[in-house]
Symmetry: C2
Subunit: 634 residues, 2 copies
Amino acid sequence: MEKFQVTIMPENIAVSVEKGTNLLLAASAAGISIESPCGGRGTCGKCAVRVIEGRVEVGDDTHISDDLKASGYIPACQARVMEDVAVEVPSFSRLTRHKVVLENKKTKYSKENDYFAAKKMNPICQKLHLELGNTDLADNINDLDRVKAVLATQYGIKNPNISLDVLRRLPTAIREGNWEITLTVSRVKGITEIIDVEPGKSERPLYGMAVDIGTTTVVVYLVNTTSGKVIDRAGDYNRQATYGSDVISRIIYGDENPDGMEILQEAVVGTINGLVQELLAKNGLKSSDIPVMVCAGNTVMTHLLLKVQATYLRLEPYVPCAVKFPVVKAKELNIGINPEAIIVTLPSVASYVGGDITAGVLATMLTCTDKLTLFIDVGTNGELVLGNSDWLVTCSCSAGPAFEGSGITSGMRAMDGAIDWIDIDRETLEVTCRTIGDVKPLGICGSGLIYSLAEMADAGIIDRAGKILESKVSRRIRRRDDGVEYVLVFAEESGSGQDIVITEGDVKNLLRAKGAIFAGIRTMLQQVQMDLSDIENVYIAGGFGKYINIADAIKIGLLPDLPDELFEYVGNSSIQGAVIVLLCQEALEEAEAIADKMTYLELSLGNTFMDEFVSALFIPHTDLSLFPSLKKDG
Amino acid sequence: MEKFQVTIMPENIAVSVEKGTNLLLAASAAGISIESPCGGRGTCGKCAVRVIEGRVEVGDDTHISDDLKASGYIPACQARVMEDVAVEVPSFSRLTRHKVVLENKKTKYSKENDYFAAKKMNPICQKLHLELGNTDLADNINDLDRVKAVLATQYGIKNPNISLDVLRRLPTAIREGNWEITLTVSRVKGITEIIDVEPGKSERPLYGMAVDIGTTTVVVYLVNTTSGKVIDRAGDYNRQATYGSDVISRIIYGDENPDGMEILQEAVVGTINGLVQELLAKNGLKSSDIPVMVCAGNTVMTHLLLKVQATYLRLEPYVPCAVKFPVVKAKELNIGINPEAIIVTLPSVASYVGGDITAGVLATMLTCTDKLTLFIDVGTNGELVLGNSDWLVTCSCSAGPAFEGSGITSGMRAMDGAIDWIDIDRETLEVTCRTIGDVKPLGICGSGLIYSLAEMADAGIIDRAGKILESKVSRRIRRRDDGVEYVLVFAEESGSGQDIVITEGDVKNLLRAKGAIFAGIRTMLQQVQMDLSDIENVYIAGGFGKYINIADAIKIGLLPDLPDELFEYVGNSSIQGAVIVLLCQEALEEAEAIADKMTYLELSLGNTFMDEFVSALFIPHTDLSLFPSLKKDG
């Protein structure tokens, strides 16, 4: 096969690829991740790049905006390399390192502390020091049985499993340590496994890692499991994004491409390993110091991490391969910690309610309260849990990734340059914006979109059905070929040299997203014959939740109209749940009990949800009686 | 590193090796196994080869016999390649394929049948057919839990383990089979593991393999575990022989050579895989058809199979790393069956009483009888078990490999050309020999050595202390530089062109071997305060046992003087025990109970054994009252 060189600019990184390779994969091979919400199928037009030197072949139907086309941009996924080329990847097409996914170390959102205020810490992996006593001819019992005997008498541990690798290192460790050893032992669901052996009495503290595998971002916490403290954190985009921004595109990628599943697994494992290496290097640790990793992710992410076929998750009746996964070894997944380390995954409930939600329920101790509690995680999907210590109902409401900026003309993720707050002058309809990082605006992120919708509604720019009122006189309201739009930032003030707008289409998308969530809440309540007013507590989880303004979210009908004090941001409860499992042997069984206990409501069955959804496509809702505080104001 | 070509003749197989590589390893790389009892340390002189072309470097102190040296032979292990060479490997230096290790299919020695006459067959691996029922939106439970539910209701199996590999193939198998699948499930010590999944109802019978890993030979049985029948057998020399003929040399090889343990493991796994491939090909099976292998071997062989450090087995106080080994996957050992197949090893008792002996006790159902039973396995070592359903004592009596022909001037293994029977004319002292394969004699094997000793004693060629009486007039009795010898076959009649002799030194070696066994028996009896006459049953195990003549073995004082009808040859009881474990889930626990029950008698502790040993260095013994039947005859 003929090979050509692709040079990515401005980094000037060159890679050699086979003739016909598309630029998306070529950039990925060069270590440059490009946005690709459609998974390289050429339908989203987000992977714009510019060829500086050389020639590529591009199909006709490129789905790239006319502005970009005019500036010489082409979609990377549709451009095939036919000779040596140099390609510029502009900043707006890049998946750059996510600065905001990590919570502050002193965050008030961490629920682990609450959990361990109520329950005892008892880490899943522990170091046990054993004094074995020397052998002689009259007592020449074998090494393993000697170790087992001491484990039984000293620690009450019977029938531990031992891997071949540890067994192989046992005789030397025993004698090097002069008949004293330190074992690293894991205990998962009643099964004890000897994971590591060190000679003598090891004084090194024991570490573990908790991982939140989001569709968009991956976060890793390094935990000192001796002290129970999270000592460092790292986060990055999930490299799987190159193969689709949502779980469905990724399942399709896995099914339709040869080695698709391998590629997806390598992408997420690569992301995790990058973060692991960063944390190890920063904290002066070796990979062998980490004998355990607990991962929480949605059901699809967990399947793809384990390279387990996910095909049937996206096809009716949406059947996962499994919801409780076997504990595996790090070496089975090529995760760069101790090869014998155990990898524990939080149990899922159904195809679209995953281990991240189970982890969230565990961390918020929803099952430990009598109060009727609503748990909302608005991520790429939108999962809801309703219940208390007696019962739990859950559903996934296909909100779509609009609040993550996906499918929105000027949408972007919450990173530098994203508009996260706006104010519209009620008279002039002029806009004041704030951006993350205080730089020139590049687009609008989730919280900015909620503000925009609320402000546009309040200022009368859109009506209750989301229609932009062209009758309003403003230089910012204009009609273009594909509909009416409101300009937040004109090209000359933006960081990308392009207008930042909200189109009528965008508004519809956002209404569908918020409508799905609200309809989900209502459907669950109906299922248990309760009302919005019965809710005594609302937990808002996920990176998204941290930046939204509750009052505005209520104003647009995203959140139920409840007193402010009932809402609590819980932050990344997925990773908090993972930390809890890392630090408490009983927590995994508790998580499984939670997953078993959750009644999954399939919203596509019956038509209550559809009716609710249609009613919720207004601002805030067709039934204003559901929003009494707004009526009062108005 | 400079490389040279070594061509092995007469095969004309060429391999490329690094400068300085010795010819023993070069031949091994070419797939030609050369005898090397000393493990390549240059002390045995058995690896004689002749350089036909090119130059090698050989040390001065070669320990090769003068005859061979005169004919141009050099020890392969001491010859280092310095340029391209062609080397002739003569047949007497070769480890040729062992023709006699396999028992006849209709052998009377098979104990499996006895076992299953008494106990129920319940194979360790079974195929289970599952009808899963289709899914719909109202019943979209995940694949794994659906499988588990049917396993629980239909087969009473709870909490099975499933490997990642099988989980990955589950969704496709379920749908290909239209919601019917066949699982291959193993059950070991209460733990159920799903090893394989096939779509639909599989009608293929299920197979397993039983392996006897001897220090010298490896035997594999292919078992149809559905019918319980052994359907084929294959045997070969253990390729580890290149690195030493006895377990001690191999442990030293493993300790002293870089990658020594890897090399030893690869050698035995290579031997097993060769036999596995032969059996699969002959029976039209695929490697994936074999989900289970049960291995019985002595403690050192089991350590080396698993690549577990064996150093401390040979150093006082002789501590094995383990006696009960974890069940491992075929892929962990690179064994060429289903990668997910489980490899079960029979438990050992101590460093020198291994899983082969536990297997033998299991197969002979020694623990199911009230009769005082003696179990004798004369292999490279010589292990003994004494007991009944109430108690078991065992010991290893370091008999050495003399009865396998090792350390005996003209000794050889039981293969074509080996003298296995002789008769000495009491008048003329002339000899009549019979050889295996009815070809020209090449040497003497174990049974031939027992006959020789008995005949030489009877004919008055040796006295009771094993001294060759030079006063006897015979052309066959002669004195050479290193002592007196008796010539069985003169060079002109032998297949090797060399005299076949028994020297006084050989006689001493044989007396030490038989004396150790007899002393072991006596020491065990004393331990339990019983006499030889209390023994009600004697099982003789091992390939060796099959060829010996009981009367002659009693005559030389190897076996106790008991009525002929008390002796029973049980053949390869090691592999019979492995077959039983393959076919009966409960048998592994039974074997572990047997191993736990056996009181290991350390013969080097106290001096009863040494006294007994010294008394047993006579023919038949210093105390003739122990051999009443001989006194009667004499």
